[in-house]
Symmetry: C2
Subunit: 137 residues, 2 copies
DNA sequence: CTGCCTGCAAATAGTTTGCAAGTTA
DNA sequence: TAACTTGCAAACTATTTGCAGGCAG
């Protein structure tokens, strides 16, 4: 909790109840969430909460690099977000049940090769693997 | 042209003018296009063309595996589509000018490892690399 | 007190859909 | 002719925005 407060302070963001709850929820989840999923979770405690508040904060957090907006959508076409961790990783997603696992990144050498061969300065990359998990097989 | 006709026939799709033009345009482009980009290109020859027709056909083609819907959007948040080629590949995108290059896939061994370690049956994967191209550097 | 946040309502924009007329096989 | 396609208009839905009151610093 204290960590969240200082995280907000460090980024010049006011320490509001909504923000604390959004970050807390994202930290406690083991999988990325969409704005709406967050919304329904938090609405229980605060019926006045608006979806636009969630979006505004997720965007602000993304801007400040506290949260990462994935290029992965759930089955409702909603974008997913996760807290940004220190370790760079990718995702393995079960197309049946939607379960998401984290994967390490195997691409360090490959990215250097791509940069060299194409004369690009690499800025970012995304890898997502889809399959069927053990339970759903 | 004849190829497009038989491609449509082989998939039980009627050989209409719109379909031929959509596929022809996608084949001739060297980069993926959005529905709207296609729409504006084709609207010149046919002012009555509707965007919904493009969407309907792109979805139908995707369903039939003639076209691939990428999980990449252009700067207007429009989904991009490309014709499905025999060779599996990924994309290297310049974040400045939007240029898209094809990349081979370096992940064969890695995917086997992921499947084994996580007990998943791998179905699909997406890799996209973002950077700045030579011209934009 | 002053600027940032949030609730609220309405707009924006990509994509989809129902229906009737037109086309393909 | 029967089934599929398209034009057209309208709906749907994720996300964003303007505004006014509320709260953090």
């Amino acid at each position: 909790m204290a960590e969240i407060k200082s995280l907000l302070q460090a980024n010049n963001l006011k320490n509001t109840g909504q923000r604390r709850k959004i970050l807390k929820t994202l930290y406690n989840e083991d999988k990325p969430l969409s704005a709406k999923e967050l919304f329904f979770k938090l609405k229980k405690d605060n019926p006045k909460l608006k979806l636009s508040t969630i979006y505004r904060n997720l965007n602000k957090f993304t801007e400040k690099d506290i949260v990462k907006k994935l290029n992965i959508k759930n089955e409702k076409h909603e974008n997913l977000f996760e807290v940004k961790t220190d370790r760079h990783h990718h995702h393995l997603i079960c197309v049946e049940c939607g379960d998401i696992k984290e994967l390490g990144c195997p691409l360090d050498d490959y990215l250097k090769k791509v940069a060299k061969e194409n004369n690009y300065k690499i800025k970012d990359h995304r890898l997502t693997i889809y399959g069927i998990c053990n339970k759903c097989k």
